[in-house]
Subunit: 124 residues, 4 copies
DNA sequence: GTGGTCTAGACCACA
DNA sequence: GTGGTCTAGACCACC
């Protein structure tokens, strides 16, 4: 896990996002312990407060649980809910692209072509 | 043109974006005069400075020109450049979606399906 | 004579400067008549007010004289004064360059080299 | 650092310029923290916004980085780029002087003499 | 503590 | 009329 201190994205958001991705990817399984706040802060070269805020955010979203004195753990979620979240994470920017295309008076056919070009690039 | 004062996006960014879209869409032709800073500020119920900042940003990006004492005008841009910018505006979120998918360990085939579903929804 | 309406330099300044240069260059001799304000305004595609302001500026600097009902004329200046002004016009930016070099902690030797390089480029 | 409130040069430009010079001179090293916006504003007896605008301009030019909640820092630039910028800062007014000389029908030899005289004055 | 945004109102220069 | 600059003071988000 790495942080970009110059990015316009807040540090705590960067942490939140990376942990969330790991959970959605399945790299962090439900029930698994997260690194302690202090440990992670040291590892990332940032302050304890920043990591704390990231964990707080994740807890608010129901992704993790905090058990006093024991640490933080990945929340036990249904597989279906996880899958939905995964899909939504990708659908959101796709929707944004379509909205932008509409605002610019682009036809859906044009967007489809742009998307096809992009996929080809990826496959190279 | 309308502003959402509750949006997390700064007002001046909202203004910048909408004018940029209008130019890319062709609704504002090169050489055409933009509404005066004061007039637009009054129309949007915002401050003169907020509009000015939006115009300043557009000028920096080369989208508009400002002539002291006369007003602001859409910059004379090559059509090719305009088209490139149009494409990029849609490509950017599409790229973001692909990057997100990769981070989540999704296959390109899955992304293609999500995109197809979205387009179907749109056509309804 | 041409004007750049998008330049940050005010239109009236652009006019003032070009007439001044013509006088210093000797293209406009002392006593010679300048084009009428209206004529010049039309030629430049600008307003009468702007040209008037340029002429006013030149009169204030003693470069031209206005004779009611007759028009404007290049002022009769001593040749020595003209020569001094010519030198000063070039010395001013040279001084600025030296001042800038000092502020950046550059040695005079370095500046001399930069100047020599520039002259070589010119001779090509 | 000092400001001249009567100068035709905007205050924020004066600030921008002085900080830029300090960086090019090497007085402010890459990574070094700049004074906080509020602190500098108080020190200069000007408004917070004026300083902020100066910093914004420096950031756009890539001279400094700003990190939310931490402050502003001199950007890590390659030494070569710094040197190029240094040279250009002095070359620009030199070029202007040559252009002016040409407009006045002066020979390059005359300009060379003017430059030599200036350097002599400096050495006194 | 830091920077980011926004307001209301003033004064000046330009066309 | 237009844009360009500056002020004083407010509220928010981040670290």
């Amino acid at each position: 896990m790495t942080l970009s201190p110059t990015s316009p994205i807040p540090l705590y958001d960067q942490i939140t996002k990376q942990i969330k991705d790991a959970i959605l990817r399945g790299d962090l399984a439900p029930g698994q312990a997260l690194p302690s706040i202090r440990q992670l802060a040291q590892e990332l070269g940032t302050s304890v407060i920043t990591v704390k805020r990231a964990y707080l955010e994740l807890e608010r979203e129901g992704m993790i649980l905090t058990r006093q004195g024991l640490g933080c753990f990945v929340a036990p979620v249904e597989k279906g809910h996880l899958e939905t979240t995964r899909r939504e994470s990708v659908l959101a920017p796709l929707r944004q692209a379509l909205a932008e295309a509409k605002r610019l008076g682009m036809t859906m056919e044009e967007v489809r072509q742009l998307f096809a070009e992009l996929l080809k690039e990826e496959e190279r």
